[in-house]
């Protein structure tokens, strides 16, 4: 990483380091998820003060050869980020927790970076729940955990529009007369026509697929989100 090159990034998580410094996990466009140390960032006179905020695009330069880079410059367009924290922000915290836990370090994911940027814009006006589901499905695919929407897990038969299926986590769809989804609805999920699919089923599928990727790690923000009155 050249110390003079500006890179775009989003803050995923930060924690205090010593009295005045901060260590942050950021999702950068050119290098994927990296950890940076912002020395003195908690002092009001620091040039980093007030900049490290999630949900808005930051521009940074870093230096250092070790895994933990040192933040050298930061910039941000403040005109874009004056939205107040709202209940939607809890969902954004949930997505940040997902990315913190699922994104591998130092692996470039430019497509997912763009998806995340579009998602932050979309949730401001689109249906929140469907935006979340759509992001989860796309993210799973981009991270290599995509769901197979084409064939029956038992016999590799192609999924048929008029048959009913059940989602078996870890594997995919299995034909079953009591199944909750029709083949047509499975194709609607594949094609992201999510408003055509029962929301409960959609939520269960993405939840189970994500649980599998988390490999036993818990997602705390989902619990907290659930305790809020909708």
């Amino acid at each position: 990483m050249n110390p003079n090159d500006w890179d775009e990034c989003f803050l995923l998580h930060q924690r205090s380091y010593g009295e005045t410094s901060v260590i942050a996990d950021v999702f950068t466009k050119s290098f994927g998820k990296i950890s940076i140390i912002a020395r003195g960032a908690k002092k009001p006179k620091s040039k980093f003060f007030g900049y490290l905020s999630p949900f808005c695009k930051l521009k940074i330069t870093c230096s250092g050869r070790s895994e933990l880079k040192t933040l050298t410059n930061i910039d941000r367009d403040f005109s874009l980020s004056t939205d107040n924290f709202s209940k939607t922000s809890y969902s954004l915290l949930y997505i940040n927790e997902l990315l913190s836990k699922l994104l591998p370090k130092n692996a470039i994911h430019e497509e997912l970076f763009d998806l995340y940027e579009q998602f932050l814009e979309k949730v401001k006006h689109d249906d929140l729940e469907l935006s979340l589901r759509s992001f989860e499905l796309d993210m799973l695919e981009m991270l290599g955990y995509g769901i197979d929407f084409e064939s029956d897990i038992d016999n590799d038969d192609p999924i048929r529009k008029e048959s009913q299926y059940r989602f078996i986590s870890e594997r995919g769809f299995r034909k079953s007369d009591q199944g909750e989804l029709s083949g047509k609805e499975i194709f609607d999920i594949r094609d992201r026509n999510l408003d055509q699919v029962p929301r409960g089923s959609l939520k269960r599928i993405t939840k189970e697929a994500i649980l599998l990727c988390l490999d036993g790690r818990e997602l705390a923000s989902r619990d907290i989100f659930r305790r809020l009155t909708q």
Partner: protein
Amino acid sequence: MQTDLLNDLINSLTILPGVGKKSAQRMALYLLDKNKDGASLLSKTLQDAVETIGRCKRCRMLTSNEYCKVCSDTSRDNQSICVIENPSDMLAIESTGGFRGKYFVLLGRLSPIDGVGPEDLGIDQLLNLISKEDVKEIILATSSTVEGDATAIFIKDHIKDIKVSRISYGIPIGGELEYVDGNTIARAIQGRTEINVD
């Protein structure tokens, strides 16, 4: 093996915030070499404090009694509660003398990724307190961070029929705009107040 008490003392002192190995060495040598009486008093006071100071039963502030100084002060206004993140926030607000109500200390703020949830912040205890006492106003003085905001909204969401306000953030008194960071200016504009001329 010979015990190295001097070294143990130096290492113990480095647990203090802002104290590195060098300063710890200086402190240890000063205590042992220059001020042994002071050192004895310090060790006794520290021991007593560790043994007797706990949490106030009502507001979770540090205290050596069942209830802290503020909670047991009958002249304070029972009807407003200021919710803060840390004991040091209470000391900061108290030093201004501008607030006559009582407090509730969360001892942190919501941070899902770090595993800090509502139960760690005693939010149930706060809600219980509100329902038992004749509280008229809750002032949320959590920090101006995403986690501080998340905490404030979470609490607000669980309180019904009582006025809930958030302290405002903005331009420091005597501060000129051009030296204030963009984020603070944006917040200050959002939280602007009407000027009343009588």
